[in-house]
Symmetry: D2
Subunit: 343 residues, 4 copies
């Protein structure tokens, strides 16, 4: 089967590599000729590409299958341009991180032209080439069926995890790591919630490890001298542990309830940089976490954990500063309290 | 009636002033002779004092009534010393911010000596002289009854607020601003929860005002250039308000649902310092907010709001930093994401 | 001055009453002739009305001023109909709880017709007649200026609260209880955040009072028999308080830091129904709380408190049930834990 | 090596099985002779036991190693009895879920008798026999070293997970799934935080899946009839997905960022009971989650996520009811709002 790929960044290129590895061919489009040449050198006859969109489309056999794998902000424009060049029966796949609202609108807009549209939430990050990508797919069933060979090559396959007890016989697509979730937008909806969960789980680890990191504060509180603006530690004897956090994340990887791929990565990051000196702690968020909370609010679902994780990221970037100053101003006003100096 | 006061700081001195104003007398104890002299000059024959604890006790008529109004950290020691000098029938009042656990222990320890103990949670801050102090009292009913004249003088009185519909006849103590809440510790327990609520309400205002402060971010987002690490504003046209926050807090003071004394103080602070330039945003917490959440956890009461308010104070002092670095390290590990530079 | 009022429910009728009381006249529009007749009987020549929109408009002098005070869901349609009947120079006021996005769109849509549009966030609830309404206004400055006499009559006036220290001379509009916040939408934006704060403050009280309500759980834990699925109380002696919550809310009304109008109402509700037997605990939310959190997310403002208050309302209506079942399913899966029976 | 085991429940028995499998021997103590007989039948000469504590101790060779694996509530008493029967040089291991405060006290109390004490936080649940147990150990280094052969047998071993990049050579204990975390209490401290993280991660999945479960609410909102007490869905077209949640948890197990052991179990539970009909949603908490938040508060670490997860469990058991009624009472008081009927 043949796949057109717009965007040969890490994820796009790795998807191409995985399908070519299984005997398929690919055509790429990219701004930089260099990226195309590199991939050509690596993949030989199975890959060709062009920096010109029209030429790229011409290289594809009908019905054309074009996977768009570029930053969310640029996706809409790229699809509009592409749609001008495609024909009825062709298929556009948005594999990026678009908001699912866009998918619903795009599928509707493309339908009169006979162009099919699939949204494919793609998880796997920088490890996808080796580990495979988890694919959450929205769109019409017929096109999903048609593209099954490609999805199989891109997804990790059933052997990537032990089968769930009771699941026997021919592995389902879900067991292979790809799933047709529902109509247009369903793929990005499920991917969005996936990322929302990711934010929450990451925060759970980060908060817990932060407690471990503070477990020795009792050792520094021997002197008993405290400002009235500070709550003294009632039991300093309970906080005298100098813990090895890299080793603790390592030990949890085997046999514990919190073992996970995120924990594997955390242990790895801490082994490489035990004090996290390479980080300042300004944590970005890339949209999905926000949209997840928006969706929860729309549907009246309580998400105290997912939202707390999101807000902590905002706070990490200094966005709480005005609120904090306001609190200090109130404390000064009613109690005459002065702020603590930076220690 | 006569009251002994240990600690002539702002709150102790103002309590003395309020009772003397109503015809009672007071005896003070303080480290600094200067504070005693000042108060003597102001109050004349109604007040005398000593820097020597023994002498202070000797100035009191039996049964002695001694109110201890010093920082929580010093209260325990002061009461121990005092107890050595008192006699059966005397009464010790802890008007500070002790944890109510201490009250339970102290009342028990003093009982065999025949010394009575009351814990009096005292709210009112720097405005107490004029506004009166709200008193939440724990201890034996007989002693509370005996001290009623003092509590009446210290509390604001019924005229401080319109009577609750249906409450008629002789105003109850609660309507006058003082209340016998229950046995030893009940006063500080109720005061503790009062402060927990205060943390939550303060945070509600601070967060809301922070949204108002960000209401103009759409005006700065016209260029469309965004890092992949930043979520662009989907509708910049909705965030183009340059709001006058001091005026908004002022308008809410009259007729709105969020009118409150805290809002009065906030409006006042913003009128004096419209941009809060005098504050750095490092917000202290003084124990009660923590103890409130501890009590909630012990009794399985969900307090998502009160705890969020507490944790935001911790974050304001940089205590989330390690967790934030951990999140950045994870994002780097699975997605190759770099942190945003400080803008 | 003359005001047209569409919607003579409690709030609409009370606004009419307040302006008539100050010598203005009003024209009303309502589905039910009965409401119109009642108000006519009460207000005499100062008020007339019609159930027919066209007739209602004909009763107004140009430039017509029409205040729409009906449920948010019906407002859009009513304004569309009204706009067909008005002329250049007329003014429409939306005094309801529309989302401010709508205001921006409506103002834009009405501008070509020469019809002015103001959005007036109106707080005060059922007490507005006596207490006055707090008005947060968005729109063009010229029309706000023109309507000043009406706003003055509707708002509480400066005497409703002590003046903020430092504010002297002629009271500003904000001090009188009405404020021109900014261009179209600014009034509802500020009102929206006001309600978001209200949710947070209400939750702060509710959570704190819930702790007080649980303060006696230690008295029931004497037997020491506990299921392994339940955490026993470590110190039952700390939770033996049988507190009088109506009295506690009453005592806080005078002199304490948490004194507020919400607390006044809470004390009043508890005096009338001390055990809250009249309530089931299913708490509605009416939009503003959700939109406040949406706005915070759009602008990257951390609102852990406001969102927790919102989510608790969702939970109160059973919306967490599926998540809770999921947690039980996980606990069963990894630890063999059974759910606790309903006690 | 020989191990004494007090408590032959699932976890105790499985630990015995794992060490016997590696050529060690075990002596068991249990109330029920039946459990002892069963294990004897299964393990032959490698295992003996007694329902009598004195006899059990007599069966052990000095220095005796006794692992206590019983509910936290009973552990203290059992250790006291045991200590009466042991001799200097013997070792007591608490493998249960004691609060680490107890460990610090016990180690101190046993030291004068020459009895050593280790606290071993043990994770692995019902899968430990096959998967191995993750061991977090507190106590003196010499005894930990001495018991290494047992810990090796109980822990999963390095092959249970891919090695962290950069970790080469002889696998460290942490890589084998057991770790000496620090002095007395450190093992249970780390296990406590582990469980706190577990609560947070579980809640992240549960909240996200709850959003998926609500993704079809737009399909039911076609009629447009809404009470003023309910916020209508602004965009019902965005919530028309009938998602297969068991399949979604399955697809995430391979290649996604949220793959984890907890997710494996969740997928398994949903495969067996797709609608979770077997659960009522009353979620217990067993102490560690509470103690984790307590420790965070003591050390001023913000834990908005871990605490939200804890509080949601409280709410699932109806503990928010009084607070919810209070909110309804306030809404009624200021706005005349009635509660929504149960739908």
């Amino acid at each position: 089967m043949q796949l057109g790929m717009i965007g040969l960044g890490r994820m796009g290129a790795n998807i191409v590599r995985r399908i070519v590895r299984d005997g398929n061919t690919a055509v790429g489009h990219e701004r930089h000729q260099g990226h195309i040449d590199e991939l050509s050198a690596e993949l030989g006859d199975s890959f060709q590409g062009s920096t010109d969109l029209k030429e790229f489309v011409a290289m594809l056999d009908a019905p054309r299958v074009v996977w768009v794998m570029i930053p969310a902000g640029a996706t809409g424009g790229a699809i509009d341009q592409l749609a001008e060049l495609l024909e009825p029966g062709d298929i556009i796949i948005d594999g990026g991180n678009s908001r699912y609202h866009e998918d619903i609108k795009r599928a509707k807009a493309l339908a009169p032209k006979g162009i099919h549209y699939l949204d494919v939430g793609t998880s796997g990050g920088v490890f996808g080439l080796k580990r495979g990508f988890c694919l959450m797919i929205g769109g019409e069933a017929e096109q999903v069926k048609y593209l099954e060979p490609l999805f199989r090559s891109i997804a990790p396959g059933v052997e990537a995890a032990p089968r769930t007890p009771g699941r026997t016989g021919e592995p389902t697509p879900a067991e292979q790591g790809w799933l047709h979730c529902g109509p247009a937008g369903a793929g990005h909806f499920v991917k969005m919630v996936h990322n929302g969960i990711e934010y929450g789980a990451m925060a759970a680890y980060a908060e817990g490890l932060n407690i471990l990191q503070h477990a020795n504060v009792g050792a520094d509180h021997g002197d008993g001298e405290h400002s009235a603006e500070e709550t003294p530690l009632e039991h300093p004897e309970y906080y005298q542990y100098d813990l090895d956090i890299p080793d603790i994340t390592e030990v949890w990887r085997r046999g514990s309830v919190v073992a996970s791929w995120l924990l594997d990565l955390t242990a790895s990051a801490l082994y490489a940089d035990p004090n996290l000196d390479g980080f300042s702690g300004r944590v970005s968020d890339s949209g999905e976490g926000r949209w997840t909370v928006d969706a929860a609010i729309d549907t009246a679902v309580p998400v105290p954990v997912l939202s707390a994780a999101l807000f902590q990221r905002f706070s990490s970037r200094g966005e709480a500063l005005y609120a904090d100053k306001m609190l200090s101003a109130m404390r000064k006003a009613f109690g005459g309290h002065n702020e603590l100096p930076e220690s």
